[in-house]
């Protein structure tokens, strides 16, 4: 997938005119939000349940290195092989090399956000190994070469006509139809053959349990279970923050994940692997590889504010509650992660410079933070990114501003720190400023401030400020 985070405004404008996207955005996010609320109500106290899951995720971030080691030790004891990868290249090279050694001609994939991040599909295909996405939405998005529109429904906005044309051309569908159920069934038939003869499957990981060395996948379609049950070789790819301390923690997170993701109390399937199949089992993998991917996370772990992003469990609740996502949909975010989740993750993983619009396209309303079961404080992350960006932070790859803007804000912040200086400066600048006023309103000042006035006006400065009048009043009363 090409990274297109720099085209945010352009794509957002195009998407706002797209009727299919609009229809979906006006209907589904509010519906899922309502379903989420109903599902949360099954807890004796939903707020308490939320606080508890937030505490689990905070603990994971705080204890990350020891939990990873504990997980690794137990996973190996269970018979899994654990592979560490510093970046996308190392992870993808490992998978390709393994596929070649086992003489694999194609793989199926369960939906995995981290493999979107790593670009595993494109890499394998470029190197002669066919890679089939098997989640219905991912399958469609992959064939159309589009990023996920929504983390749960990656292609939910694509019209039935477009899906029909696609399946006729690429999925061996025999007769055209625009019935979503028949289209789904056509995809079942096409992919079923792939599952049947599968020799290597690739999945993501929803949770890795330190206490037992188990990995957990949460899904509705059955494609992940098939990808793990049919082939001889299973590769499950996880980013470092997927670990949770105990099986009980995992069960609580499972409840929160499903409720926040689709409004279900639990998904159709939750499968928990501890090692490969035993010798006497007829299905399941003979080799289970767990690839633990860093891809830049350990670098930002040193920054205690930035690493709060690692709490995220990819449930997608923030998307469904975000007024910005609800207007522009998932494409403008330009990469694997969209909505507030993407605004938090993409800048850290890609650098602040090339994701400028992402952390600024936010009204700081806080709806995302309010629903987040992992306790991510999105608005404060955005403010942090904005400040690190203009300071040109090295670690987060901020884009420093030119000397004029930089010095203006230095002086501005100095002036706002000392009231006497502020008052002096205002008096000094008043005639200059008021020259732009018309009927006591300033609608624009040409030059560097033009952008600011694009959507706002300011009143003209009166000849007497509030402080002047206050002083006068006090003096009058005393006299």
């Amino acid at each position: 997938m090409k990274i297109k985070t720099e085209q945010f405004t352009e794509v957002a404008r195009r998407e706002m005119a797209d009727m299919n996207s609009r229809a979906f955005l006006q209907l589904l996010p509010p519906v899922i939000a309502a379903m989420r609320k109903a599902a949360m109500a099954t807890f004796p106290d939903p707020d308490e349940a939320n606080e508890y899951s937030r505490a689990i995720r905070a603990e994971v971030v705080a204890r990350l290195p020891e939990l990873l080691e504990e997980f690794e030790k137990n996973a190996i004891a269970g018979g899994a092989r654990v592979v560490w990868a510093r970046d996308a290249k190392e992870a993808n090279d490992f998978i390709l090399d393994l596929a070649r050694k086992r003489e694999i001609s194609y793989v199926t994939k369960g939906k995995s956000m981290v493999s979107e991040e790593l670009g595993t599909n494109d890499f394998l295909i470029r190197n002669g190994i066919k890679a089939f996405e098997t989640d219905l939405g991912e399958f469609i998005a992959q064939q159309l070469h589009r990023p996920p529109f929504h983390i749960v429904g990656p292609a939910v906005n694509v019209s039935v006509q477009e899906v029909c044309d696609l399946f006729m051309e690429k999925a061996g569908m025999e007769a055209p139809t625009t019935d979503p159920i028949e289209l789904g069934y056509a995809a079942r038939l096409y992919l079923r053959d792939k599952f049947h003869h599968l020799e290597m499957g690739i999945t993501g990981v929803n949770m890795a349990v330190a206490e037992t060395g188990s990995i957990i996948n949460v899904e509705n379609e059955g494609n992940i279970r098939l990808t793990k049950s049919s082939p001889m070789v299973q590769v499950s790819v996880m980013s470092i923050e997927k670990v949770v301390p105990t099986m009980h923690d995992a069960m609580h997170m499972l409840r929160l994940l499903c409720r926040n993701c689709t409004g279900q109390s639990i998904s159709s399937y939750v499968s928990i692997d501890t090692g490969p199949k035993k010798d006497d089992e007829i299905d399941g993998p003979e080799e289970l590889y767990i690839v633990i991917v860093d891809n830049g996370r350990s670098d930002l772990y040193d920054d205690v504010k930035a690493r709060e992003a690692l709490r995220c469990i990819r449930c997608g609740a923030c998307l469904n509650h975000c007024p910005v996502y609800g207007t522009i949909g998932g494409y403008p975010y330009g990469w694997a992660y969209s909505g507030p989740m993407g605004q938090v993750l993409n800048p850290l993983l890609l650098g602040l410079e090339r994701t400028q619009d992402l952390y600024r396209a936010c009204t700081l309303c806080g709806a995302c933070k309010e629903v987040c079961p992992a306790g991510v404080d999105h608005p404060s992350m955005f403010l942090y990114y904005r400040s690190k960006d203009v300071q040109g932070d090295d670690g987060l790859k901020g884009k420093k501003r030119d000397w004029k803007e930089d010095s203006f804000f230095r002086i501005f912040s100095l002036a706002t720190t000392f009231p006497w200086l502020w008052n002096k400066a205002v008096r000094l600048l008043r005639p200059l400023y008021n020259r732009n006023a018309k009927d006591d309103v300033v609608t624009n000042i040409s030059g560097p401030f033009e952008g600011w006035f694009r959507q706002r006006n300011l009143p003209a400065m009166p000849s007497e400020t509030f402080h002047d009048r206050w002083k006068k009043m006090k003096a009058n009363r005393l006299s």
């Binding site: 990873l68 510093r86 989640d135 992919l191 003869h197 109390s265």
Partner: protein, 222 residues
């Protein structure tokens, strides 16, 4: 890549330690404390919302009667069955012979490929037992091993599950504690199954039977 592990962990260890927050008290879930009948009712009601059907029979004899009824209604000719401790006592192969249904089990196949041909391309249904039935969400728990092959409950379009009434538990943790207790032989895979396979990925239209079963029928014994 040998030192990738060290390099990643070293960076994580070198970073400032964070505070581990205190876990606040959480009220016990509503299902904890339900008696057996209440659990079965809750299970039936929640699974029904996922289009799952629950039948209740007294004993194994009645279970076979119910199976016969299902086989007749669905016109099943070829079924694959697990050999777990719920299904085995029913002696399905000789029952099937009498009823005209071909029943195969994992052990009837010499290798994985032959078994896969059966479950993917020929079997019209899969019959399994279940280790747990979780009241909380109408969820079955299956521990996979040599007698509980993974694909039987997954590849055929219809899944028929048999579960003894004494295997009902209130919440997931009750099942997990038994499966993952210290010193227990942990299964290579443990699965929670709640209703048939489903999706809503095209135009948000719900659709059962995406890649796994389109329908699930649960027979509660006892």
């Amino acid at each position: 890549m040998g030192n990738a592990r060290e390099e990643i962990l070293e960076k994580l260890r070198a970073a400032p330690k964070g505070d581990v927050p205190v876990r606040l008290h959480m009220s016990p879930l509503n299902e904890i404390g339900l008696d057996k009948e209440e659990m079965i009712t809750k299970f039936r009601e929640t699974l029904f919302l996922q289009t799952g059907v629950v039948h209740r029979v007294k004993d194994n004899r009645e279970a076979l009667d119910k199976l016969e009824e299902i086989v007749d209604t669905e016109n099943l000719k070829r079924v694959v069955a697990s050999t777990d401790d719920v299904v085995t006592p029913l002696d399905l192969p000789s029952w099937g012979e009498k009823k005209g249904v071909h029943i195969s089990r994992a052990q009837d196949f010499t290798d994985r490929d032959e078994f896969k041909d059966e479950v993917f391309a020929r079997a019209e249904a899969g019959i399994t037992g279940a280790d747990f039935a979780v009241a909380e969400s109408g969820t079955l728990g299956l521990a996979h091993d040599t007698d509980q092959a993974r694909l039987i409950s997954l590849a055929p379009i219809l899944h028929i599950a048999l579960v003894p009434a004494d295997r009902f538990v209130p919440v997931y943790e009750n099942a997990i504690d038994k499966v993952f207790k210290d010193g227990a032989a942990i299964p290579s895979q443990f699965t929670f199954i709640t209703g048939p396979s489903m999706t809503a990925d095209i135009q948000a239209t719900p659709f059962k039977g995406m890649h796994g079963p389109r329908r699930i029928i649960v027979i509660v014994i006892g």
